[in-house]
Amino acid sequence: MSRKPKQALSAPIPRLRFVALIGILLVWVALIAARLVWLQVFRHSEYAEREFRQHDRTFQIAPRRGMLYDRDLQPLAMTVLVDSIYAVPGEIADKDSTAKQLARIVHVDPSDRYTSAKDIDARLHRSRDFAWVARKVDADVAARVRALNLKGVYFQKEFKRYYPDNDLAAQVLGYVSLDDNGLGGIEHRFDGALHGTAGQMLTAVDARRQSYSSVEKEPTPGENMVLTLDAKIQFMAEQALDHAMARTKALNGTVVVQDPHTGQILALAIRPTFNPNDVHDIRPAMLLNHAVSDVYEPGSTFKLVPFSAALQEKIVTPDSMIPTYGGQINVAGRIVHDDRDAMIYESHHGNMLSVRQALAESSQVVAIQLAERLGKDRFYRYIHAYGFGQKSEIELPGETRGLLKPPNRWQATTIGSIPMGQEIGVTPIQLVTLASTIANGGVYLPPHIVLQQTSDQKGNPRLAPAAFHPEDKIPDTLPAGAHRVISTMTAAEMRSMMEGVVMFGTGDTAQLNGYSAAGKTGTAQKIDVRTRTYSKTKYIASFVGFAPVNNPAITVAVIIDSPSVGSHFGRAASAPVFQELAQQVLEYLGVPHDMPIKPAKLIAEQKKTAHDDIDGDREQAGDLDTMFAEVNHLPPDDPLRASPGKTQAAVADADEAHAYLQSASDASSSMQPPETGRAANPSPPTGVHADETVLARGKSISAGQVQSSSANSSPAVTLGSGAAVTMPGFIGKPMRYVVVTAANLGLNVRVYGSGVASEQAPAAGTRVPAGTTVVVRFHP
């Protein structure tokens, strides 16, 4: 280094330092290059994978599940958009307290562990990126969580299956899981079609969780389906079955209503039941559709087969006299007895019965003789032709073919067992189809429960309502699977003989008022699984019949399994269900009367004698009377009596009226919000609601409205807060008139009893909002 100032001007920068700096620079560049190679070559795949993970998410876009309609296009199952709540745990500082805060709101159902604070907390700790808090919550729950404004808690719209009528036809419809998989019933059987095809969205997500690009495949919505069910008849069937269940305390019960001229199922009710809206409470046993999956020994109802076959084969005529041998017959060493009542009847007739009388008294001895005269092969052919031992191919899952051995495997005593409905297993669907075959003039029509499917117009429901109008003949061209079993002549003879069963025989408790009816009772001993012998205490009481006799509008099968209160016989346990249901349905359908209408007093007396072991209706009637008295004798200044014009007031008033009605009936079912619904009390205690049938519900239940119905308001009121209507006078009018008039006005009807309308609430002339439920009581 120079110390001479003169040289300073040209003094070079110290080279050593310069070189040192260049050295440092080169080392630095080398470090950078090495780092680049390390990151971009050696760890490339790892980082590329990480980048992909944080950007690209393949989303499945859930398709909207298809609707299920009844034949009038009243929705039975619909899909609504609801909020699901999820969290990004990485954004939540205090997970424990957040979980507690959330659970306080979303943990609505104490039995549902999924939404408990503990489980939410556990999920929050499991993942950093995503954790469900609660799936498909009610609107008010979502609103309350939203109001908390918690960091890291988000909402996503999801489709939720919603059953507007709760447990109505639950076993037919089935339900869907949280992930939109159909479980049970039509939902399961047609899961593929109803579900639709999920869309695919390859979304890249930026750091703010906004998607910025997507390759989309639009989801295809599920097909809509129209069932053959008539929701109103279904209501009636469920109501009648509920009464029977309450009366008999049976294990389970099945009611099937069929259109005999098409084979379409109009109603299919099973008890016990469930509410498909409450997924948590559903146990597999509840899903069983006993109508197709239960095989039971039909007992005497099966006698229709040997009797009709013998008539068809001209072995006998309805008036042929058959010996009864003192009420017992030896079949290959096994002695079969007629029951006591039949034996007494037979002894009065000199141990000879006409075929007609034999069916009316359900004589085993005669049935066996007819089968023996047919011979096992011919008898088998008829059994088979009626559809037994084969699946009906009805559009329901879990159908069984029943139990029917081919003749070459029959034992010597079998020819004596099958005619009386033993050693053969049938399903309720097979049984109702047997009765329909006789009812429609002898043609087996395979049962169906699906009417239309929008298979070629996916997501574009161009469905036409197909209201049920009773036919008077079978279709000119028989549908696939249909075949004639017996001639129209034989069928007519059978119908008249079955009418005898109801008029004079074991089915007298099935008699209708103003309509002729035909049917057959049956009481089968259940096979004790433990001892493999017939149970002495467990019975299945059944009744199958149709009405009116000459041109049947409906066929009904009633099977009550193990009634434990009152008589176990089909006459007492099942036939009254037919009586109640058929009466109501025929009046609803407006089928013209073909019999003189008996005065109410006579009916009451008959009922009293016939139903000695059946009561309970009386108490309900008492409650009803009180309720009507309270509602219809309102003080003159009561808002319910508001004069026309005060529309606004009337809307509020109707609310009050509902509250009033609600307090009048200690427990209300249809007034409860859809979330809880009727399944909450499957076997209702005596109360007004046990009698009610909701008819002509508002058909335009939209998702928003459904959600807006909070715990304290009746859906009936929230639905129709629009136009006000003047309540028409229903007193003295037939049920058909009431139902049609109310539907046209947009009113809901709750129907009690049958006959003509005797009382109504709110009173005629009241201004009420559309959608109000009018309660109408009918008396014979």
Binding site: I13, P14, I22, I32, L36, V37, L39, Y47, A48, E51
Partner: protein, 363 residues
């Protein structure tokens, strides 16, 4: 007087390449964000192009202005004074994001700290040119040399703009070192500065977190480690060939400031190792030609000036790249020529004009 041979073509080409490359990358990095924030994907590209044009014009002019014109107190002192005033002015003008880095004129805005760097270099070159042999006299050489630097650094720190302050400090230290200052003094200065440094770097909680994050970004990948981890993911995902120009995805709100401080991560992702090495090579080339000018220049003022300009640019570049690669903690240092930012680009080009003029006298 040395003979005139024309500007260093390499340096000129490298500069043009860096500017053009920068414009392309600014567009690629900012298009999506600009579209979302300003409604036009070209927002940043247009602004940057305007500044680039302006800067290149200024460079072409300064290329032809003899650098000796600056070698006079009548240029140096006003320059230092104006810079000081501008730095002070930021504190009395509107703040953005609680910082005082900007001075705005209507739609235009510029950062006085960008002027501070060339001003400091100019001052040091002027001051050091005839004191190379007197650097042991710390009271009469070292301290007066360091004073304007300390003033600038203090003001810039106050803005606060840690990155620029750091660059100023390092450039000052390097120039003093090169002028022959004893390493002992420089170490003393570092020790004296360390409490301030510590206070600046670790006292504020979020800065401390950022400091530590670069050591182990995986520790808090969603918090303090997020930016640096996303930067590493971008670089790593680029691989050798890159994902393709405009195809980068880390810039979509994962990378912090993809068009400014982390533009190198976007380059590495989209153009891969090849693109990244290309950028490093351009700066290395710039360093080589700049230092060569400093070494071969016969005028001491030119030497210090060339060294200071080169050092400022190269240090910023490699600091920026090192931050992106998590070699050093996160600092707000832009990548010269390439990062979006008009003031930086303009004054960098201005400095290049001066440097290019110096190269005219070298063969």
């Amino acid at each position: 007087m040395a003979k005139r041979v024309g500007v260093d073509k390499w340096l000129f080409i490298v500069t043009l390449l860096l500017v053009l490359f920068g414009l392309v990358m600014v567009f690629s990095a900012s298009a999506v964000m600009a579209k979302e924030r300003y409604g036009s994907p070209y927002y940043f590209l247009l602004r940057q192009s305007g500044w680039a044009l302006l800067g290149l014009l200024a460079m072409l002019v300064l290329m032809r202005v003899n650098y000796r014109h600056y070698n006079s107190p009548s240029v140096i002192f006003p320059c230092v004074a104006v810079t000081t005033l501008l730095l002070l002015a930021t504190f009395f003008l509107h703040d953005s994001h609680h910082t005082h880095r900007w001075i705005r004129f209507g739609p235009l805005s510029f950062q006085p700290s960008e002027i501070a760097k060339p001003a400091l270099v100019l001052f040091l070159a002027w001051f050091l040119q005839d004191r190379v042999d007197r650097m042991q006299d710390w009271r009469r050489a070292l301290l007066p040399a360091a004073l304007p630097s300390l003033l600038f650094i203090a003001l810039i720190l106050k803005e606060p703009d840690l990155g620029t302050a750091l660059v100023c400090a390092v450039v000052t230290a390097l120039m003093l070192y090169l002028a022959g200052a004893r390493i002992k003094y420089l170490v003393f200065a570092l020790l004296a500065a360390s409490p301030v440094l510590y206070y600046m770097l670790f006292h504020v909680a979020w800065r401390r977190a950022r400091m530590i994050a670069f050591l182990d970004p995986e520790k808090d990948p969603r918090g303090t480690g997020f930016h640096i981890l996303q930067s590493l993911i971008a670089v790593g995902a680029g691989g050798i060939h890159g994902v393709g120009l405009m195809e980068g995805r880390q810039k979509l709100f994962y990378l912090p400031e993809p068009q400014t401080d982390f533009i190198f991560a976007n380059i590495a992702e989209e153009l891969g190792l090849i693109g990244a090495i290309f950028v490093v090579a351009l700066f290395l080339m710039l360093a080589y030609r700049g230092l060569r000018a400093a070494l071969l220049s016969t005028d001491p003022f030119a030497r210090f000036l060339a060294f200071g300009i080169t050092a400022t640019i190269v240090i910023q570049a490699f600091f920026n790249i090192s931050v992106v690669l998590a070699l050093v903690p996160t600092k707000g240092i832009a990548l010269p020529f390439i990062s979006a930012g008009g003031t930086s680009l303009f004054f960098t080009l201005l400095s290049m004009g001066v440097l290019l003029n110096i190269t005219r006298e070298i063969d």
